[in-house]
Symmetry: C2
Subunit: 395 residues, 2 copies
């Protein structure tokens, strides 16, 4: 184990805490840019609560609405322009992962004269690494990406069909105001996708990481078991605030960094999914739900012991030994069954995607992340042929 870790985000968690937003924002600025998505926060009443709290604290605000589910760099540029035009000095990200991701990049783009796409890692040689950013306060309305408490952002360039990311400490939100009551209006399908998304965040580090990370392993298993226990409750009864709170906390923990510490893991499933959803405007978690089990069956052949641990600790299976591939595969089958039980797709055909571009996805994925030997980092590393085989298995 050799690593560095720091996550300075201040978390304020619990039902009703949205009322404290204005007071929180007032510690960082006088005029907020409130970033939102397609309008659900206005229908749910969350936006009104935010406005009420900001006004009570004497905070002015401007608005940047309409951030897409796969947030585009053009939305980032638009948000940055509003910040400059309106003189905002703090950003409130009210929405799901896409809104929070866009907000983080807006926070740096607003103080940068160049093209915001310069900051996004996408295989280019000279990435611009920003050194200053406006403070961001996240207010998640969906339990899914964990973006509220980490420093990453995934952004799509719709012109070049490239979906890539930025992840630098500068972009940690100052505060995450997590109020599970804001998530009760999330529809069943989006709730299920959130559960799939958060589980995939931890299966990646768990299954691609180095050996001997026992505490991180137990934490990951806790996240998965919690999501599998409380997720279906939140899906069955959206107004169950306890279930909403449990999966919201699970989603944050999944990607706050604690589970990833020292694992040195690639995120191959995410990398492949990003490329697919750059071509098809599908929900990120739907892509993950399809690719992850197929990737697992591929990876279990070479990293059997960890998949056996997954099968035993998550599904209570009993393996004959650490090399019991049948047990490992049974665990993956059970996991796929869980995804289907919450109505997540597990085959490309369910989304009308055929094999036409499989090789293109694979090659594009390597343009974003590459181990220097023409393979995608992960355990095992994946060649173009490996990726195509995984995609085909998920057809």
């Amino acid at each position: 184990m050799n690593f560095e870790f720091q996550n300075p985000t201040h978390i304020i968690f619990g039902a009703g805490n949205i009322a404290r937003l204005g007071e929180v924002v007032s510690e960082y600025g006088k005029k907020a840019l409130v970033v939102t998505g397609g309008g659900s926060v206005k229908r749910s009443g969350a936006f009104d609560k935010v406005v009420e709290s900001l006004k009570a604290a004497g905070i002015e605000f401007a608005e940047c609405s309409g951030v897409e589910p796969n947030p585009r760099i053009t939305s980032v540029a638009r948000g940055a322009e509003i910040v400059r035009a309106e003189g905002c000095d703090v950003i409130v990200a009210l929405g799901g992962g896409s809104v929070m991701d866009a907000s983080k990049v807006i926070s740096a783009a607003a103080l940068y004269d160049g093209d915001p796409w310069d900051m996004i890692l996408h295989g280019q040689e000279n990435v611009y690494v920003p050194t200053e950013a406006l403070p961001v306060i996240t207010v998640p309305t969906l339990a899914a990406t964990g973006s509220e408490t980490n420093c990453g952002a995934v952004i799509t360039n719709e012109e070049t069909t490239v979906k890539s990311f930025i992840q630098i400490p500068l972009l940690y939100p100052k505060v995450a105001v997590m109020d599970p009551e804001l998530t009760v209006s999330v529809p069943k399908d989006q709730t299920a996708y959130g559960v799939c998304d958060l589980i995939t965040h931890v299966t990646e580090s768990y299954l691609n990481g180095v050996d001997n990370t026992p505490i991180q392993d137990r934490l990951v298993e806790g996240v998965i078991l919690t999501a599998m226990e409380w997720g279906p409750k939140a899906i069955a009864d959206g107004s169950d605030v306890e279930a909403r709170a449990q999966i919201q906390w699970a989603a944050a923990v999944a990607l706050i960094g604690w589970a990833q510490i020292g694992t040195n893991a690639g995120y191959p499933v995410h990398m492949m999914e990003h490329t697919v959803s750059a071509y098809h405007d599908i929900t990120h978690a739907a892509g993950l739900s399809i690719i992850n089990p197929a990737w697992m069956r591929f990876a279990a052949k070479s990293n059997t012991a960890k998949f056996v641990q997954f099968a035993e600790r998550i599904f209570g299976l009993k393996a004959k030994g650490a090399d019991d591939l049948d047990c490992a595969l049974e665990g993956i089958d059970r996991f796929e069954e869980f995804l289907r039980s919450i109505d997540c797709p597990t085959r490309f055909s369910e989304l009308g995607i055929n094999d036409e571009l499989f090789e293109t996805y694979a090659k594009d994925t390597l343009k974003i992340v590459n181990d220097g030997n023409g393979n995608l980092p992960g355990r095992p590393v994946l060649s173009v042929d490996d990726m195509v085989a995984i995609f085909k298995a998920a057809l």
Copy 2:
């Protein structure tokens, strides 16, 4: 779940990282106060490595050595005086929990004109809450207290025989430089005490916390299982850097705050132990090792389900149901056997402590922390009679 959480400490973890200390310190100051304990860091060579790294980075330093195993407020005052006399602007805490705890309080005391004891919570009405402190860099040489990555400190007033604490965000170390190689010289008994200490940190929040904290539970179980697997390896072969790294990380995770989030737990075993070790200069962990199993047997009667979970998940026992007190007690027996297997005491008589002051310890404990109804917070709350019964069971 309703909570706030923030831990801004920057962790640099891994063998060999002590060489980076000077570079790290140079980001915070020009002249360091190096705080140390009884001299083991000089015998082990750790002090020389620190000096070498500081010098290479052009950092001057003064020294405050001789901090006691149960650090005294007089040592804090002495450290603060050296800071002022020598013009130090950053503090390096090189040692175990006592050195790190003292360093944190020195960091605030150096900027406060009054008596440092004013800052320590000890039942008084007007605690002075400091608002400024010098930056602290922790360099733990022992896997035990987790003080390196949290904002708490336990301090003893030798005049009044009061051992109490301060815990405020101001005292988070800026950086924790955790180099497991620095811990290879820790003798077997101190290594074992460290293992006991770190486990007790998490059994407290796990067993005294509210219901429905499933992720925190799994994390705690991971810490305990890791300490029980790797602790004996580190005790058997002190030079096993992998084992040293595993228990060092377990100790940090145990009290970094992640496991405590949302549990709202009292720390009754710690509170009782502090009072006992204020009267007898025993190792903190030895006191914990004696009191914890006795407390567990008392608490299992009223919170049986959680102790059953402990028995099942830590020791693989199979309960007849969540109310299976026999299974719960069997788990506690197994835990006590583990403590004995690493040569930790489990009875007061082993340390030559008799029942003479049991009622005094109990009453003194309530002077430090009290729920307002004359009981010690915890699950269940404890009266003076309850505490005396627990002490007697550990005689």
